[in-house]
C-alpha cells in the first residue's frame, strides 16, 4: 500500500539544564496537550501512540509506563515504545500508518538527563565485552572521531568552533533552545573537543502528530509530507569504521530519496561539531542548504528527543511556509553509529 503520510503538528518544551521540579510525566504532559491542541484531536481520536525514551537517563525503571499517564490511556489505546530516540518511534508509527491500520498517530519522546551523569550513563550502551568495561564516555568517543577528522585534513579546531558559532547564532531565534546565541568556546573537555564543541546537557520533551492522506489535509493547512524515511546502522566496533565518514547516513538518505532533488533545509542531529562536518559531507549539503535553522543539537540536546525534534523542526518550517523540501536526520549511539534520514515536502504554494 502506498499512502501519503505527513507530520501535521509539532510541539516541544523549552529545553533547560534541569527540570528538577518536574517528574517525567509532568515534563511531558504540557507538550502532549500542546500538540493535540494544534490539531483539535483528543487522545481517543488517535489510532496509534508511540514513544521513545530511556530509563537509564533518570535511573527510573519503566518510566515510559508512568509517562503514559500524561496521554490518558483509557479506554485502552494502541501503544508502543522504543528504547531509542523518538525519531525511531516516529519510524514505527509511519510503518503503522503505511499498513492502513491507523490514520493518525501521536509520537512523543522525552529525556531527563539532569538526575544522572550523562557522559557515564551513555557508556552503558556500548559493547559490554570489549568497550563498556573501560567506561569511555560520550565526549571521549566523539573526540576520537574529531581527531580522525583533523588528521584527515577535513577540519581543524577553528572549523569546529565555526560550526558551534553558526548553530548557536541560529538558535537565537529559537525560544525553546537551551543555548541561544554565542557562548564561549571554552577549554578542552577531551582534546580536541572544547566545551563549545559539545552539546548542552538538558531536560526536554517533544511530540508530533502523523496523519495519512485526506486526514492530514483536514488537520493541517500545509502538511509536511514524509516523501521518504530510512535508517541504517554501521558496524558495532568503532575500530572497524572509518570515523571520518557516515556511510549509513548516506545509504539512509539514498533510500529516503534525499538525493533525487535538492532540499532547501536540513535539520541535522549532530550533538558534536565534528559530527555536523561528517554529516554535511555524507549528505552532500552545500551552501545553498539552510542547515540547522533551529540551532540543532548543539543548542538543545534533550537525549532521546533531540532526533525527533529535528523532524519536528523541519516539518514546522514546511507548515509555516519557510521550507518546501527539507531533510531531517537523527542519530543514535557513539560516533554516529546509527542514522535515520527523512525527507519532508509541502504541497506547492
Amino acid at each position: 500500500m502506498n499512502r501519503e503520510i505527513a507530520v501535521v503538528a509539532f510541539a516541544q518544551t523549552d529545553h533547560r539544564r534541569a527540570g528538577e521540579e518536574l517528574s517525567e510525566v509532568e515534563l511531558l504532559m504540557p507538550v502532549l496537550h500542546d500538540v493535540l491542541a494544534r490539531t483539535g484531536l483528543r487522545t481517543a481520536d488517535l489510532d496509534f501512540v508511540c514513544s521513545g525514551s530511556s530509563d537509564y537517563l533518570a535511573g527510573r525503571a519503566f518510566s515510559f509506563t508512568l509517562a503514559l499517564d500524561g496521554v490518558g490511556a483509557w479506554p485502552p489505546i494502541s501503544e508502543s515504545h522504543v528504547e531509542m530516540d523518538g525519531a525511531w518511534a516516529l519510524y514505527e508509527a509511519w510503518t503503522k500508518l503505511l499498513t492502513g491500520d491507523a490514520d493518525t498517530a501521536l509520537v512523543y519522546a522525552y529525556g531527563k538527563s539532569s538526575p544522572g551523569s550523562l557522559r557515564d550513563v551513555l557508556t552503558r550502551q556500548l559493547d559490554p565485552y570489549y568497550v563498556a568495561p573501560l567506561w569511555p564516555d560520550s565526549i571521549a568517543l566523539a573526540a576520537l572521531q574529531a581527531q580522525a577528522l583533523i588528521d584527515a585534513g577535513e577540519a581543524d579546531e577553528p572549523a569546529l568552533a565555526a560550526v558551534a558559532a553558526r548553530d548557536r547564532e541560529n538558535a537565537a531565534g529559537n525560544p525553546h533552545a537551551q543555548l541561544r546565541g554565542p557562548v564561549p568556546h571554552g577549554d578542552h573537555v577531551v582534546r580536541p573537543l572544547r566545551r563549545g564543541d559539545c552539546p548542552p546537557v538538558g531536560d526536554g520533551a517533544a511530540a508530533v502528530i502523523l496523519a495519512a492522506g485526506e486526514r492530514a489535509r483536514a488537520l493541517a493547512a500545509r502538511p509536511a509530507w514524509i516523501r521518504g524515511i530510512d535508517h541504517r546502522v554501521e558496524a558495532h566496533a568503532l575500530g572497524v569504521r572509518d570515523l571520518t565518514d557516515s556511510p549509513s547516513t548516506r545509504l539512509a538518505a539514498e533510500h529516503a530519496g534525499a538525493f533525487e532533488r535538492p532540499v532547501d533545509t536540513a535539520e541535522l542531529h549532530a550533538p558534536f561539531t565534528s559530527q555536523e562536518i561528517v554529516l554535511r559531507k555524507a549528505l552532500r549539503l552545500d551552501g545553498t542548504v539552510r542547515v540547522n535553522p533551529s540551532g540543532g543539537a548543539l543548542a538543545a540536546n534533550p537525549v532521546m528527543a533531540a532526533g525527533l525534534i529535528r523532524i519536528g523542526e523541519a516539518a514546522a518550517r514546511i507548515h509555516r511556509g519557510a521550507s518546501d523540501r527539507a531533510l531531517a536526520h537523527a542519530t543514535s549511539g557513539p560516533c554516529l553509529q546509527q542514522n535515520l534520514v527523512a525527507v519532508l515536502e509541502g504541497d506547492p504554494r
Partner: protein, 313 residues
C-alpha cells in the same frame, strides 16, 4: 510550592555475561598475554575479534595471533579521568591497530602529555599484573619505539578457557520525585495523607503522580484522605527480602483509603497474618520520627461491605 525533594540514588549491579567461542578465546588469550584476532573469509584480521563478519555476516572462527605492538589510528586527550576508566592519571584514549591486524582496538595510552601523542605513533600493550580474562587485562598501552613484536602463532586453544565475564556497573543519580509526589511525601511527614483530584473525572489519586492516567490531564487540587481505609485485596509474603527487617510471613495489601479512588500498597501489622481479610478496616501507624507510615493496623471497626470497595479492586 515547597522545594522538591531530592535523594541520592545508586543503581548498581554486576552483569554476568556468557562468552561465545571467539570472545572466549580472545579474553582467555589476554589472560595468557596473547592477543588474538579473527580472520575473515576475505583475508582481513579483526582485532578485537568478533564471531560474525561485520561486512558479510559470515560466521568466522579462524583465530590468529597478532603482535602486542601497534600503531595509533586516532586519539583524544583525557585530562580528567572518570571513575572506572583504565588510568587514574591523565591519559590518551586511543584506537590502536596492532601489528598483524586490519582493524583497531579501543583502549588507553599512558603518555606524559598531549604533546607526546600523535596519530601514527607506535605503542605496545602494558599487561595488568593480575589478569582474569577481561579487556582490562590490558592495563593500557605505552609508547614503544622498537620493531613489531613477532607473535608465536597461537591459534586460540587454551586448556582452561574463560566462559564468562562479570562486569560491574554503577550509575549515580540524584532522584527527584517531581511536584505532585513531593507534596504527598511532605504531607506524609506531617502524618497527613494527601492525594490529588482529577479536574476532569474527579477521581482522587493517592499517591498522586501529577497526572490522571485516565484523562491525561494534570492533577493539582490537593485532597486529604483517610487516614482510615479498607483492605481490598492482599497477599501473604513468605520470602524474606534481603536487608528488610520484617519477619515472615507477613501481609502486604491494597488499601483503599477513605476518600481515595485508587488503592495504595501497605503492610498490615497488629493482627496475625492468617486473620487478614478483604474488607478489613485499617489505619496507618507512624513510628518514631518516620516520614511515612511503617504499616497499617486494624481499627477494630466492622468490616466494610464488599460493594463499598468493589470498584477499587
Amino acid at each position: 510550592m515547597p522545594d522538591v525533594l531530592k535523594a541520592p540514588l545508586v543503581v548498581e549491579f554486576p552483569f554476568t555475561r556468557s562468552l561465545g567461542p571467539v570472545q572466549s578465546a580472545f579474553l582467555t588469550g589476554l589472560r595468557e598475554r596473547v592477543v588474538l584476532g579473527v580472520r575473515t573469509t576475505d583475508g582481513r584480521t579483526l582485532v578485537p575479534p568478533v564471531e560474525y563478519d561485520p561486512v558479510t555476516a559470515d560466521e568466522i572462527r579462524d583465530l590468529v595471533e597478532v603482535a602486542p605492538t601497534g600503531t595509533v589510528t586516532t586519539w583524544a586527550w583525557n585530562h580528567a579521568p572518570r571513575r572506572g576508566q583504565p588510568l587514574a592519571t591523565p591519559f590518551a584514549w586511543v584506537l590502536v591497530r596492532l601489528d598483524g591486524a586490519d582493524t583497531a582496538l579501543l583502549h588507553a595510552l599512558d603518555a606524559p602529555g598531549p604533546d607526546t601523542v600523535r596519530t601514527g605513533m607506535r605503542v605496545r600493550v602494558r599487561w595488568a599484573a593480575e589478569r582474569s580474562g577481561a579487556i582490562t587485562d590490558i592495563a593500557c598501552f605505552e609508547p614503544y619505539d622498537g620493531a613489531a613484536a613477532e607473535p608465536d602463532g597461537h591459534r586460540g586453544d587454551f586448556a582452561d578457557p574463560v566462559t564468562g565475564i562479570v562486569a560491574p556497573a554503577r550509575l549515580d543519580y540524584t532522584y527527584t520525585p517531581g511536584r505532585a509526589q513531593t507534596a504527598h511525601l511532605e504531607a506524609l511527614a506531617e502524618r497527613r495523607i494527601v492525594g490529588e483530584r482529577c479536574p476532569s473525572c474527579r477521581k482522587v489519586y493517592v499517591p498522586p503522580r501529577g497526572a490522571c492516567p485516565t484523562c491525561g490531564v494534570a492533577t493539582s487540587e490537593q485532597v486529604e484522605v483517610g487516614p482510615r481505609g479498607t483492605v481490598t485485596t492482599f497477599c501473604v509474603v513468605n520470602i524474606k527480602a534481603r536487608g528488610l527487617d520484617i519477619e515472615v510471613p507477613y501481609v502486604y495489601a491494597h488499601i483503599a483509603l477513605d476518600g481515595a479512588d485508587l488503592a495504595l500498597h501497605g503492610r498490615i501489622g497488629g493482627i496475625p497474618y492468617d486473620q487478614v481479610r478483604m474488607g478489613l478496616r485499617v489505619e496507618p501507624v507512624w513510628t518514631g520520627g518516620a516520614r511515612h507510615p511503617d504499616h497499617y493496623r486494624p481499627t477494630g471497626e466492622p468490616d466494610a461491605d464488599y460493594d463499598t470497595y468493589r470498584e477499587l479492586l
